[in-house]
Amino acid sequence: MSSTRRPTSRSVRRTAVAATSAALAGVLLAACGSGGGSGSGTTGSGPVHIKVWAWYPQFKQVVAEFNRTHKDVQVDWVQAGVGQDEYTKLKTALKAGQGAPDVVMLEFQELPTIQLTKGLLDMGKYGANADKGNYVSWAWSQASDGDHVYAIPVDGGPMAMMYRADLFKKYNLKVPTTWAEYKEEAAKLHKADPSAYMTDFGSDETAAGWRQGLAWQAGSRPYTYSASKLPDIGVKLNDDNAKKVYEYWGDLVKNKLVDTASYATTDFYNGLSTGKYATYIAAGWGPGYLSSVAAKTSGKWRVAPLPQWTAGAGAQGDWGGSSFSVTSQTKHPKEATEVARELFGTSQAAWKIGIDQAYLFPLSNPILNGAYFKSKKYDFFGGQQINSVFVPAANGISTFDWSPFQDYAYNTDTSEVGKALQGQNAWSSVNDNVQQQVTSYASKQGFKVSK
């Protein structure tokens, strides 16, 4: 066949290829040239520009507020992806040695991981310790290690139960205060309407923090970790408290009293907005989330405290929440620290945007316990002052350490939950399997693991 091909057409094509690749090379070189700098820095005597990565859209107004009130420091905001997508970019930039922003939004569980790769600046050296009293203590302890401050807390996710008041009334359900009651009501609901579920069990990776938060409430403290005591780490993912939580939910799943759709999928949103799910166990940021994904159910939801293992115990857990860290690649540590501390800090104006528009749950004491936040009424919840539930929940959370390999732990947990869900493994074996895999991983990574 090749003999029929005319040589001229071949050489023409080659020339075209060469020309195209030359043009492409030019474009790429030009791209490299313009993208070489990290983007932050001063030119002449103007203000210092600090590049910030954060993901919620309302952050735009917060930045505008900061830039309006600051002269020498200006914030350049970049949306570099939500959660894991942003972390992937950050880790790659840290590994590459360039390209990281000055200030980055990080969830609490991610802090030890990034800190361990020496990716975070110790803001304690730039006066951040002065803020200690401004934040709820469990959040400050997750963001710091003694006098080393690796993050400034912003928002939290104290857990509570949101429920459909109309459905509860329709099926004559009682608002549960203990997990035992929750199960009874779940059975009652499913019997009355087989297509309805008490809630959706978060079985996927985005719900790993949800499962951890529930175990947190039950008293499980899987990690004992401090960056200053490396290489020591305590790992105990299979204590009785954690097992109790997983077996409880496994039982609900087996009896088909809860659904098992992945969180953050259209099926899940659909369940929230059609009445398929009667409750949504969520966190302080949940009201904002719920009112955007299930807008048409406005007015039908109410908030109640998280059901308890022991009646009246008032045990709480947290799911999510974020902070601002300064990366080790910054050329302006002083100004970047200022940005991390003052983007929200105790600024009433910034927090008004955060509370009203971004539905952030403040961890800043004066805001959290201030009258505005506590007494705010939410139309989506039928005018309920929902923070009278969330604020005590936030204040009742006890300290909790994260591991510096939280992604691995979450992924392993998700895989094992998946196996239990598919009936390959017993629910009672999930925690033991996770413990075994995580400890062996930690040992391989050079940690001295105590179980």
Partner: protein, 327 residues
């Protein structure tokens, strides 16, 4: 600089000057510091390939070398980084997560590849035989999924598979067959196979169809005279004669299957308890690097996967060398 000037003169020389230049060769050849015609040609060639070569070195060879260098080092979260020769590779081939991923894509390929190529072959034979306008429409329709970017295709299928919104589920429900969870552990490989088949059958069909179109028509006439029917012509003449194109299509498909990534990565969002981070070797390498920061081990996994692909392709080509004409 002299090289450039030299080229300038070559480029301006009209093609008709070739014999004249040939005559002058002894003179120019003796000129001190001058380049012979051969060297000049070489220089010209080098310049012409240099854009490609530069990109090739910068974006393929250099990253490969860097990744290989990474793969020979071990870096742990605590304790830093040291040179460890082939320890990562040793770990790779005893790593149950990597091996289960390889096993999964092999099982996937054994079922999906023959099915897809069989369909592609059937389609190619049909459109080769039927020359009506309908055949053109058929060809376009089958080829169209290939024009859809893989990510978009996977997202779309993920939606179709959805237990709440997916039509598959509502059809089976209305037929009284109950709920079918296409994103469950048991059906995931089938669901993925369906996406891949949908996307690539048309492409392979076109490859095979092009080969069929290149066959000399006289052979068919001879077959007809010998009393062969259409089926016999297809089985005994067409298929053997396009076997080299089939080997090529099969080869590309095998390589693609071993590097399976996009579709599971997209469906991971709707079924992350089924599609684990180590679902396919490529997905595992990606997650190791960008979620667990294990760049070194990830590099070793990538190279090991590359080795599996290379050795696999080599043996495949060796085994089929008679058919493919690559003796």
């Amino acid at each position: 600089m002299s090289l450039l000037r030299q080229q300038g003169s070559t480029a301006t020389a009209p093609p008709s000057a070739v014999p004249a230049r040939g005559l002058r060769t002894p003179v120019t050849g003796r000129r001190p510091g001058g380049l012979s015609a051969r060297t000049r040609h070489k220089g010209m060639g080098l310049l012409l390939v240099s854009p490609f070569l530069l990109l090739f070195l910068a974006f393929l060879v250099a990253p490969l070398c860097y990744a290989f260098w990474l793969s020979l080092r071990t870096s742990t979260l605590v304790g830093g980084d040291h040179f460890s020769w082939f320890a990562n590779y040793q770990q790779t081939f005893t790593d149950p997560q990597f091996l289960s991923g390889v096993r999964r894509v092999v099982v996937f390929g054994v079922v999906q590849i023959p099915l897809m190529l069989g369909l592609a072959l059937l389609g190619a034979l049909i459109i080769d035989e039927v020359t009506s306008r309908l055949a053109k429409v058929f060809r376009m329709t089958l080829f169209m999924p290939y024009a859809v970017p893989a990510v978009i295709g996977a997202l779309m299928w993920g939606f179709l598979y959805s237990p709440t919104f997916g039509p598959v589920n509502s059809i089976s429900h209305s037929l009284g067959l109950g709920k079918v969870d296409l994103l469950s552990h048991a059906l995931m490989l089938t669901s993925l196979g369906n996406i891949v088949t949908w996307q690539w059958t048309g492409y392979n069909m076109i490859v095979l169809y092009a080969a069929l179109q290149g066959l000399p028509r006289e052979v068919y006439e001879a077959a007809k005279l010998d009393g062969a029917g259409q089926l016999q012509t297809a089985l005994r003449i067409k298929i053997p004669m396009i076997s080299s194109a089939m080997v090529l299509a099969l080869m590309f498909t095998i390589i693609g299957t071993l590097q399976f990534f996009t579709e599971p990565r997209v469906l991971e969002h709707s079924a992350s308890s089924v599609i684990t981070p180590d679902y396919t070797p490529n997905l595992y390498a990606y997650n190791l690097a960008f979620q667990y920061s294990e760049f070194n081990y990830s590099a070793a996994i990538s190279f090991s996967l590359g080795a599996v692909v290379f050795i696999g392709s080599y043996f495949f080509l060796f085994a089929t060398r008679k058919r493919s004409g690559l003796k």
